[in-house]
Amino acid sequence: MDELDLLKKDWNKDDSTYPKLSYNEIYKMILKKSSSIVKWIFIISLLEFGFWLALSFLLKGTAYSSKMESLNMNHILIPITVISYAVLIYFFYLFYKNYRNISATDSSKKLMENIIKTRKTVKYYVIFNLASLVVGACIGAFYGFSHNPEFSDKLQLASANGEVFKFYALLFIVTIIILAIVIGVLLLFYWLIYGILLKRLNQNYKELKKLEV
């Protein structure tokens, strides 16, 4: 007899070894809140959407944005704002649709895929935001500098000293460093949260995929 059949014989032998919960005990259980990873993913995703939304509102009220306004950039800023809200709504719709598709009654593989898909939607949204942050910073810097008298004075001073290249290089490096820090912090945050939350799911998904090779 093989080992598992030995186990099987024992497994089904005695059901009385298990705890027997009463009707009331079970009833109390269904009133409690779930602490599944899907719930956490939902909460964290909402926080992420909220974070980017809050960031866009916060930027509006700053000195930076009033400076932007004085530069008369409305013809650029308004379409950008409209596009960013449209993108937010689109991603949120996708996220919610995918979230609703998660069902514990699917097969294990399908369930894992749906969770991963939901996660990916939010990830793409964040990537989109980071990309627009980079592009925005570049356009803003270019536009700001070319319209800012303070800047052209400095540039003239630099070119008088023959240091135009050095001036631009410094500007470029500072911009890159600031962006790298912002993106680095966000990525670290990401890696921590989802690394912990999805470690087991990813492991098990890999294991299932491995079976198909």
Partner: protein, 164 residues
């Protein structure tokens, strides 16, 4: 929520609770973790219950939700991870004093099964519950052939643990 729905569900789960206990037995190592997982499976079953259609057997449906919760949805608490390390050490000691009685063999087998990964445990669980390969493959979302191949590998693995 609908009182009648609640009542029907609790009644059904009370009757079939052993399935959930069995899942917990495989995926946890102590009473606290067992209760924790039982609680989460119950919630997941309840959440899915309104969509449960009578054409599937309640018990069959429970296997799916129970395993999905254990494998994917449930967040292990730190407690159970600590005990798992302890379990591993204990297993090694037991293997050394191994003797041939059936009871001893079973003890070692249970410990060996505990050391399998989540997916392997799911296969073993469904096998122990006398499910055929079609149902195993549908529950996990893999092909029947792959389920068979994997099952054979698990058997070999257990055999080597039992007869080193």
């Amino acid at each position: 929520m609908n009182k009648e729905l609640e009542h029907n569900f609790v009644k059904l789960l009370e009757q079939h609770q052993n399935i959930v206990h069995k899942v917990c037995r495989l995926y946890t190592n102590n009473q606290d973790a067992h209760n924790d997982l039982f609680q989460e499976i119950t919630i997941q079953l309840w959440k899915a219950y309104p969509k449960f259609r009578g054409d599937a057997k309640f018990s069959t449906w429970m296997y799916r939700v129970g395993l999905n919760t254990a494998i994917t949805l449930y967040r292990k608490s730190k407690r159970s991870i600590n005990t798992q390390n302890f379990e591993g050490v204990e297993f090694k000691i037991k293997a050394e004093v191994y003797d041939d009685t059936e009871e001893q063999q079973l003890k070692i087998l249970y410990k060996a099964v505990h050391q399998l990964n989540d997916i392997e445990k799911a296969l073993v669980f469904l096998y122990l519950e006398d499910k055929d390969y079609r149902e195993i493959s549908e529950t996990l979302g893999i092909s029947e052939v792959n389920a068979r191949v994997k099952m054979n590998r698990i058997k070999t693995k257990l055999r080597t643990i039992l007869n080193p």
